[in-house]
């Protein structure tokens, strides 16, 4: 399988840079997976799990929680411009659980004045974190 270059950058650091075989993540249009020679596209990220299928001999899969940003896909390289992204070991599971419960509660109660967009976003973020750990 052909490999391509994946670069994940955040405003603070270069998060990941290596040759990979495939990469999967969640976008505003749904979940997508990308192989080499994809049509040039720019997509916007929705909170979800980022799966990186490495091009090494052991075919390792790396996971990360990707929350916000956008992706520039070109034939031979993919650049993920992430505003927020975390490796599994950077995630506090307890906190993620709690914020998931909180967001679910807020959404189900439907009190007036609840910021639905914000609650949904925080629920999605918490779900992404939990999914990465499991």
């Amino acid at each position: 399988m052909d490999a391509f270059k994946l670069k994940v950058v955040t405003p603070e650091r270069v998060f990941f840079e290596d040759d990979v075989e495939m990469v999967e993540f969640n976008t505003t249009e749904g979940e997508i997976g990308i192989y080499k020679n994809h049509v040039p596209t720019t997509v916007i990220i929705k909170p979800g799990v980022l799966n990186i299928y490495m091009a090494d001999s052991e075919k390792t899969v790396k996971k990360a929680a990707l929350h916000e940003g956008f992706v520039e896909i070109l034939g031979d390289r993919v650049t993920i411009l992430a505003e927020v992204i975390e490796w599994p070991d950077e995630i506090d599971e307890e906190r993620a659980e709690k914020s998931k419960e909180r967001a679910e509660k807020r959404l189900s109660e439907k009190e007036t004045g609840t910021d639905v967009d914000r609650a949904t976003a925080s629920l999605l973020r918490a779900m992404a974190r939990i999914n990465v750990i499991r």
Partner: protein, 291 residues
């Protein structure tokens, strides 16, 4: 000639000032290293974002998007990034000069979004309107801070409260060269680019890019990110520049103090010698008188 005691006292006071400036220089050197590293690490992100925005706009020149055209308001917002503290040479005053001496910014049409106490106080004294004040941000700027500032600005822009957004910051070229820079942020104008981005290598001719979602929606989401990254970049560069400027200022202050101490030591020794000579003359004169 000043008395020996006066000279000695003066020399001691210069010595203790020198100790302070030396310590400040060391502190800002360490801070500069850190800030420089941060600025370098974040550079890549801005280049990418800039290139992406550039490619979207160059291919969709006809798009009629609120962020790309004037909204009729003649108010100008200036984000002014200065330090919270002085003793950094011309760092703070050159940013103030950049805005206050610019004829485009009059007291009536300009709103200052101040980051940094020094700039805020000076502009306030000059009679400009301070719309918002984010002075605590400059100590340890994070991307979240930049996002908050941008949200405020974009809301004001969308409501027509302000018509143009400028960014006044200090571009960190290298450790010794820092350039005060004024950058137009909104409406987006890509001809006028940040000097931090000029070095960008040109992409091999763009393959036609697709967007999901459609161009206009994508712009809606990407432009706030673009503005945020500009502000964040300006913040980290300014912090690096501030520490660089302070390091230089304190270095020359330490050197000047050394010069002063040398001069005062010379004066002191001369005064000491002349007082001994005088004493001797008096003693000899006294002895002569007796014999």
């Amino acid at each position: 000639m000043a008395s020996m005691r006066d000279i000695k006292r003066r020399r001691q006071s210069v010595e203790s000032t020198q100790q302070i400036t030396k310590a400040m220089k060391l502190v800002s050197t360490v801070k500069l290293q850190r800030a420089k590293q941060r600025a370098e690490q974040s550079q890549f992100y801005f280049k990418c974002i800039y290139e992406t925005v550039n490619s979207i706009l160059s291919k969709s020149g006809t798009i009629n998007h609120p962020y790309l055209k004037e909204n009729g308001s003649d108010k100008k917002a200036v984000i002014m990034i200065t330090g919270n503290r002085g003793l950094a040479g011309g760092y703070n005053s050159s940013i103030v000069k950049l805005v206050a001496f610019n004829e485009a910014f009059t007291k009536d049409n300009t709103k200052i979004y101040a980051i940094g106490k020094k700039g805020r106080d000076t502009m306030d004294r000059l009679g400009y309107e301070i719309a918002k004040d984010y002075c605590d941000v400059i100590e340890e700027p994070t991307y979240d801070d930049a996002r908050k500032i941008c949200n405020d600005l974009l809301t004001a822009f969308e409501s027509g409260e302000i018509g143009e957004i400028y960014l006044a910051y200090t571009f960190f070229k290298n450790t010794v060269v820092h350039e005060p820079t004024l950058l137009k942020v909104l409406p987006v104008n890509l001809d006028e680019t940040s000097p931090s981005l000029e070095i960008t290598e040109k992409h091999d001719v763009y393959a036609p890019m697709n967007f999901e979602p459609e161009d206009e929606e994508a712009l809606n989401m990407i432009i706030p990110k673009y503005v945020t990254s500009l502000v964040f970049g300006a913040l980290v560069e300014s912090v690096a520049s501030e520490n660089g400027a302070r390091m230089q200022a304190m270095d020359s202050a330490t050197n000047n103090a050394s010069d002063m101490i040398d001069r005062l030591s010379l004066l002191y020794n001369r005064a000491r010698q002349s007082s001994i000579t005088q004493e001797l003359t008096e003693i000899i004169a006294g002895a002569d008188a007796i014999s």
